[in-house]
């Protein structure tokens, strides 16, 4: 039914599902388990739009006042 894409909105940063190998490098870099990442609910509209499933990790590219572009990773949970 939806005919607009949330990602087109100026205030919504770019979200993408992280590939497994990329996820591994991120987890290795910070030396953490997946559970130690920040979380996002699977019911979140943007998660539903990009079709991420529970247990996936999404990579978020945000505009940042200080750094121009900031990277963020969030684990999709129930």
């Amino acid at each position: 039914m939806r005919n607009i894409s949330l990602l087109d909105h100026e205030l919504i940063p770019k979200h993408e599902i992280l590939a497994t190998d990329e996820l591994q490098t991120v987890l290795n870099h910070y030396q953490i388990d997946k559970e130690q990442l920040p979380k996002i609910k699977s019911s979140d509209p943007i998660i539903q739009e990009i079709g991420a499933l529970e247990g996936d990790v999404v990579k978020i590219i945000r505009k940042s006042q200080t750094a121009g572009e900031g990277l963020y990773y969030r684990l999709v949970i129930k």
């Binding site: 910070y30 130690q36 920040p38 945000r62 940042s64 200080t66 750094a67 990277l71 990773y73």
Partner: protein, 881 residues
């Protein structure tokens, strides 16, 4: 035991519930049956309130239960078997709700079995999800109360009324605690669950007490008065009352006393148990001590600001601290704090005696506790503490040996922590080196006032003496003043010149002072400079002279290069840079001030570019030295000519005054014309504004311009030879606006950004006609502070002034609460070595601190263009913007 204690344990869950009678008996070491405490020999009576099995508080005695001494024995509970059940006051509300939602006959929850199952399921669901069940349980109570006939036994339900303090009335008759307890006892486990309770931890009948735990004596220690008499704790008194009534009740019942007497006694028992728990229940007269003072019972111990939670657990108190008034001493280094002798003699620091300091420590001890760097205590190798006195000091000094500890008095150079409340940022607590001085105040260099936000109008500050080497090392490296010159808030210096330092530097470097050799040496006398540079020239009589810029340059590092625009800059359309006619473009080459005036932008706290550059390029020790020297030089410079301000400094010539009144009357005429246009409906409204708003805005704007113009006129007549102008332009104190208000015109008074309109209907004061829109009727003050305000002006000024006061009062309380919430939310976050921000479980909050991973104290005022100056310093070429 020690090995066990060091293993950290994790709290898995906390279970809350009610104490069951069985549990009370199980944890009890003995029943308490007599109300007497001690026998004639002063020995505690067995099974009395002071039974030795309940724990010990007197030193030397051994606990009969655990065998440990006072201090180690945690205390043990006893219990009292109540002859008749009584209600626990804390649960009155819940008891009422429960009574109303169960059947008076069969004790079933007043719901259809099917509804019950539905609700049970929902409760289960909520519990799994970890949500609160409170709302659902409340709905349940409400629904059950509406049921008029029990669905299980068809018994008709009667409304139950609650009467203070703890009576439940059904059909006009009081329900006895026994009856209530019976009803609760008959409830099934599932029905208990419906009430939001877990039947294994909390059954409703446990809200009616049949057995009362007796707190250990450690909870209610008795004190021995000087007369040798024992004075018991309030709780003990209360327990005595309970036991007495309990016994009387039993005796009367066994003797077959009439029901009426028994009921009275029962009520009395209820009263004593109630006040034992809470002595401030509404509807119950508080139990009093013989002297008439209300007793402090269990609830009173926990509740409120001085209660166990806010007073004892959250509030910490410390030893080794001192507090007194602060006052300034510009001759101290910024790293120092002046400590009165009286305090230095009281405060100590432990020193372990080793072979290499044995002799030295002997000297401290030998001086005793009254000659300044002395010692107050020594601790022998066996741990015994001995006070050093005049009598035993020589003796102790002789006996002093390796392995002892000497508690030595504070002396010059010791590191201490200094703090001023409110401690809003990390610079509110910093480390200083001690300098012991006479008199009774803490002395500090005025340059460190900004981080503490201190002044000397009676402020007091706290000082703490660090007791371990680790703490002292940490304070030295992290907390010393010089390590906190840069504020992480804006990446610039928060310590630098203030007030007179800025005025002094301005006077010194502004004009080409010619300074004789004597004066030059005097100016630099307090700094570390020991040599004068080549003189700038020779006077006609052959005497050499130096310029102020040269003198200042002596303090700068030899290879410092810096360029910036000074505070005095007039913001001309085109900048002449080094040829600036106002001497407002500062160029420092190889540590030499070539052009420009040193003012707030150079050496001020918050804005000082030179201080900033020196910290970032030459380190903290060098900067502390620079600030010390610079402030001393500035003070000598300001004393050379002196800087004072008096009422005559606000004088402006007659023609200027006329010019000012002309400007104001012109503005008033313009306002009058605007009003005429408005009344003739000729005024065009501004886009998006009503006509009323438009005229208000236009009037405000006209009067604002007029005030500025009068300020300019006054400013033109008060040149840079006026001390107030010097202070305003150099950024030392005050502004040109302040000066305008003093000399020319105070201007429009406003409430909430609008002209003053409140007061009587249609007018602000009865001095004006209704509907007058004129300037003077709405708070325009055309007088200056010097000329004096007329009565209406004075009134409007008070109206506007009050808003400012209310604003500050409201803002501080609001921002304080905001800060508290922020700190509570963020206190456990930590920046890790990899730059990520994590909380205690290791969950990442931010992948890179601030998204760019930058420590703001290491960036130039958080300005990304810092790179330009770095490139310039390396290549020597200006970077194209």
């Amino acid at each position: 035991m020690d090995a066990m204690a060091s293993i950290p344990k994790r709290v898995g869950e906390i279970r809350f519930g009610l104490l069951s009678p069985r549990e009370v008996r199980k944890m009890s070491i003995t029943p308490i049956i007599t109300a007497d405490t001690y026998d004639d020999d002063g020995y505690p009576i067995d099974m009395g309130l002071m039974d030795m099995r309940l724990g010990v508080i007197d030193p030397g005695l051994i606990c009969k239960t655990c065998g440990s001494r006072a201090g180690d024995c945690p205390g043990h509970f006893g219990h009292i078997e109540l002859v008749a059940p009584v209600i626990h006051v804390g649960f009155n509300k819940l008891i009422l709700k429960s009574l109303r939602s169960i059947c008076r006959n069969c004790s079933n929850f007043l719901l259809e079995p099917q509804r019950k199952n539905e609700y049970l399921e929902q409760l289960q669901q909520l519990k799994i999800m970890g949500h609160s069940t409170d709302d659902l349980v409340n709905d349940l109570f409400k629904e059950a109360r509406k049921t008029k006939v029990c669905p299980h036994c068809n018994e008709e339900q009667v409304e139950i009324k609650f009467e203070k303090p703890s009576d439940y009335i059904e059909n006009g008759e009081k329900l006895t605690p026994t009856e209530i307890r019976e009803r609760f006892e008959n409830m099934s486990d599932d029905d208990v669950r419906l009430m939001g309770m877990d039947p294994s931890n909390a059954r409703p009948e446990w809200m009616i007490l049949t057995v009362l735990p007796v707190p250990p004596v450690t909870v209610r220690p008795s004190i021995t008065l000087e007369s040798g008499q024992r004075s018991e704790d309030d709780l003990t008194h209360k327990m005595v009352d309970i036991i007495r009534i309990n016994q009387r009740f039993q005796e009367n019942r066994e003797a077959g006393a009439p029901q009426l007497i028994l009921e009275d006694l029962w009520e009395l028992l209820q009263y004593h148990v109630t006040t034992f728990f809470d002595n401030e229940v509404s509807g119950v007269p508080p139990a009093r001590h013989r002297s008439g003072r209300p007793l402090k019972t269990l609830t009173q111990r926990l509740k409120g600001k001085e209660g166990r939670f806010r007073g004892s657990l959250s509030g910490k108190r410390v030893n080794f601290s001192a507090r007194t008034v602060i006052s300034p001493d510009p001759n101290l280094s910024i790293n120092e704090v002046g400590l009165p002798y009286a305090i230095a003699k009281q405060m100590t620091l432990p020193v372990n005696v080793i072979s290499r300091n044995l002799e030295k420590m002997r000297q401290y001890v030998a001086r005793g506790n009254d000659v300044h760097p002395g010692a107050n205590y020594v601790i022998r190798a066996d741990g015994r503490r001995i006070k050093v006195t005049d009598v035993n000091c020589t003796d102790l000094a002789e006996k002093l040996d390796i392995g002892w500890v000497v508690e030595r008095q504070l002396q010059d150079g010791d590191i201490v922590i200094f703090n001023r409340q409110p401690s809003l940022h990390k610079m509110s607590i910093m480390a200083h080196h001690v300098k012991v001085l006479p008199y009774k105040t803490f002395r500090l260099n005025p340059a460190v006032c900004p981080p503490y936000n201190a002044d000397f109008d009676g402020d007091e500050m706290n000082l703490h003496v660090l007791q371990t080497e680790e703490a002292r090392a940490e304070a030295e490296i992290l907390m010393k003043i010089q390590e906190n010159i840069l504020s992480p808030r804006f990446g610039g210096p928060i310590i630098g010149g203030i007030h007179d330092h800025i005025s002094g530097m301005f006077l010194l470097t502004r004009t080409d002072n010619d300074i004789s050799k004597n004066d030059a040496l005097d100016l630099l006398r307090k700094s570390h400079i020991r040599q004068l540079p080549e003189p700038a020239g020779y006077r006609d009589d052959g005497e050499p002279y130096w310029t102020g810029k040269q003198i200042f340059s002596q303090l700068l590092p030899d290879d410092l290069n810096l360029e910036y625009v000074a505070e005095v800059c007039f913001k001309c359309d085109e900048c002449d840079r080094e040829n600036c006619e106002n001497d407002a473009y500062v160029i420092i080459e190889n540590g030499e001030l070539i052009t420009g005036t040193i003012d707030e932008k150079g050496i001020g706290a918050f804005k000082g570019h030179i201080v900033d550059k020196i910290v970032k390029e030459y380190g903290s020790t060098k900067s502390a030295e620079f600030i010390d020297d610079m402030t001393r030089l500035a003070i000598r410079a300001i004393m050379r000519s002196g800087l004072s301000f008096g009422i005559s400094d606000e004088d402006i010539p007659k023609e200027a005054q006329m010019h000012i009144s002309e400007i104001i009357s012109n503005a008033e005429d313009e306002v009058k014309r605007l009003i005429e246009a408005y009344e003739a409906r000729e005024l065009e409204p501004l886009p998006g504004r009503t006509l009323d708003e438009t005229i208000e805005m236009k009037i405000m704007q006209k009067l604002g311009v007029a005030r500025d113009k009068t300020g300019d006129v006054a400013g033109n007549h008060l040149g840079l030879d006026n001390s107030a102008v010097i202070m305003a332009k150099s950024g030392a104190r005050g502004s040109m606006l302040n000066l305008t208000q003093m000399a020319a015109s105070v201007g429009q008074q406003a409430v909430r950004g609008e002209r003053i309109r409140r007061g009587y209907t249609g007018r602000t004061l009865p001095h004006f006609s209704k509907g007058d829109l004129g300037a003077d009727a709405h708070g325009f003050v055309k007088s200056s502070y010097k000329s004096g305000l007329n009565p209406t002006e004075y009134f409007f000024h008070a109206v506007g002034g009050r808003e400012g006061l209310v604003d500050t009062a409201v803002r501080t309380s609001q921002s304080g609460y905001l800060q508290r919430r922020l700190v509570n939310a963020l206190q456990d976050l930590e920046v890790q070595y990899d730059g990520s921000v994590r909380e205690t479980r290791g969950v990442i909050v931010q992948f890179k601190y601030g998204e760019d991973g930058i420590d703001s104290t290491k960036s130039d005022y958080s300005n990304p263009e810092t790179i330009h100056s770095i490139v310039k310093s390396v290549t020597g070429k200006e970077v194209e913007q």
